[in-house]
Amino acid sequence: MRVRAPLTLVLPAVLAAGFLAVPLLGILADAPWSDLVGRLTEPAVTEALRLSLLVSGWTLLFSLLFGIPLAWLLARVDFPGRTVVRCLVLLPMVLPPTVAGVALFQGVGRRGLLGGYLESLGVVLPFSTAGAVVASTFVAMPFLVISLEGALAGLEPQYEEAAATMGAGPLHTLRLVTLPMLAPSLMAGAALCWARALGEFGATITFAGNLPGTTQTLPLKVYLLLQDDPTGATAVSLLLVAVAAAVLFALRGRWLRPLR
């Protein structure tokens, strides 16, 4: 059915789309295209890029290792307190990241709840790369868990039931039946989680601090560059926009397909 779009809807819709487009166009227009390569290969930028890839890579790894089991448990097992756990997973997605940083201090900082225990094990998280990974995992893992839990809940149970009737245990079924069927959702969730980790700013600068080579990831670099080299900041921003766009493009089949 084709619908004639009334002007009262078209006008705000066009404004909304324009509102989203203008800042990004601003970056494209203001980017130092002629010496973009030079600016993006400056040692300070490549160091931040290397650190960003390292931190977001570890974040993805930990999120997969711990997030897949958590998503499975939330979707498949009706345990007491499931709603509470689901809230815990959702909370970091809606918390301001700086609040997440403060919470991490109180939880796993040197003077936090577990700080003394961690320090006795020789683990000090604030102001370390490990701390940056912890901050970004806290903020990014929920994106993987929630995507995956939704996909698991929408999965037809007959295949898993069939596997069970043929004698496969839950772990076997998860590995041989469920995860392969979930592969597209898992990819999408993982990409989402990784993109969020790559862009993490607030929790990182609060909890892990800002030190080139140790905790200064690309978003922190952009923030500091803006203070004395706005053009450099635009160049690095362009890089981050390109990465985000690439993620969207890679998953276009999932997110960009019209829902009908």
Binding site: G109, A153, A195, N210, L226, Q227, L259
Partner: protein
């Protein structure tokens, strides 16, 4: 039904995806409260809201000064945006609507010489001090102790005045200190020390005064210290040039100077 549920789940996913991808772009926002002015019909005088961009180290004393100044000048409302001086200057250069700029060093202010209405005047001076958590767990007693590689030391980033001053002091004494973090402004340094996450930090004397019992201080002898100057100036693009000039002039008055020295600043 099930089909619908799936679609709903998918659009929810798309929504979260879009949110997630835009979050990094929102990483740094700036406070660009615009200065608004309305005519006060009762008195016929113009009432002005002045946006004052001030160095982070002025946070407490300016909040105090706001009450005093607004009581004495009923037509004027002060709104502050506190940040590292370099960030404030970047905001001015990006065209953030503001009326007065007060930075924590002269070079930073000189960087926006073409944006100020008149030449800046120095309204206060400050010095640096070492702060530690109240129990001073690392036993810091002098500048030289900051060279200890196991010490969790936090400095302000070299982009902001407090960071520059700190490095000047350390270099002059030949102390090779490696910070564990370079915070975007001096108040963030103070916060990390107050939380006990850092063993030591370099902040302004006034920051330590403001923190009270929250930190212990280890004084830096005068001959090893630096003097930070705080220049203030009305901005050329101010919507209320007279009110802005009045406030800057007031900062040099005996009343304002009493507040500033009370907060640990030195007279200009």
């Amino acid at each position: 039904m099930r089909h619908h549920a799936k679609l709903a789940a998918r659009s929810l996913l798309a929504l979260t995806a879009a949110t997630a991808l835009l979050v990094p772009l929102a990483a740094c926002g700036s406070d660009d409260t615009s200065s608004a002015g309305t005519d006060d019909a009762a008195t016929g005088e113009e009432s002005a809201t002045l946006t004052v961009l001030a160095a982070a180290s002025l946070t407490d004393v300016f909040e105090e000064a706001k009450e005093v100044y607004e009581d004495a000048n009923p037509g004027t409302t002060l709104e502050f945006s506190f940040a590292g001086s370099q960030e404030l200057v970047a905001q001015v250069e990006q065209g953030a609507p503001a009326d007065v700029l007060v930075t924590a060093d002269t070079p930073t202010m000189d960087g926006v010489a073409d944006e100020t209405a008149v030449d800046p005047v120095v309204i206060a001076r400050n010095a640096l001090t070492i702060v530690t958590p109240p129990d001073n767990p690392a036993g810091v007693a002098a500048l030289a102790d900051l060279a200890d590689p196991d010490l969790r030391l936090v400095l302000a980033a070299p982009e902001v005045p407090a960071g520059r001053y700190g490095r000047q002091i350390l270099e002059a004494q030949g102390v090779e200190a490696t910070p564990d973090s370079e915070e975007p402004n001096v108040r963030a340094v103070l916060g990390k020390v107050q939380l006990g996450e850092a063993d030591a930090g370099l902040v302004y004397v006034t920051d330590a005064t403001a923190a009270g019992d929250g930190v212990a201080t280890v004084e830096i002898p005068e001959d090893q210290n630096v003097t930070a100057e705080y220049p203030a100036a009305p901005l050329a693009d101010s919507a209320h040039p007279e009110a802005a000039a009045d406030f800057v002039a007031w900062l040099s008055s005996a009343e304002a100077q009493a507040l500033l020295t009370g907060a640990g600043f030195q007279a200009p």
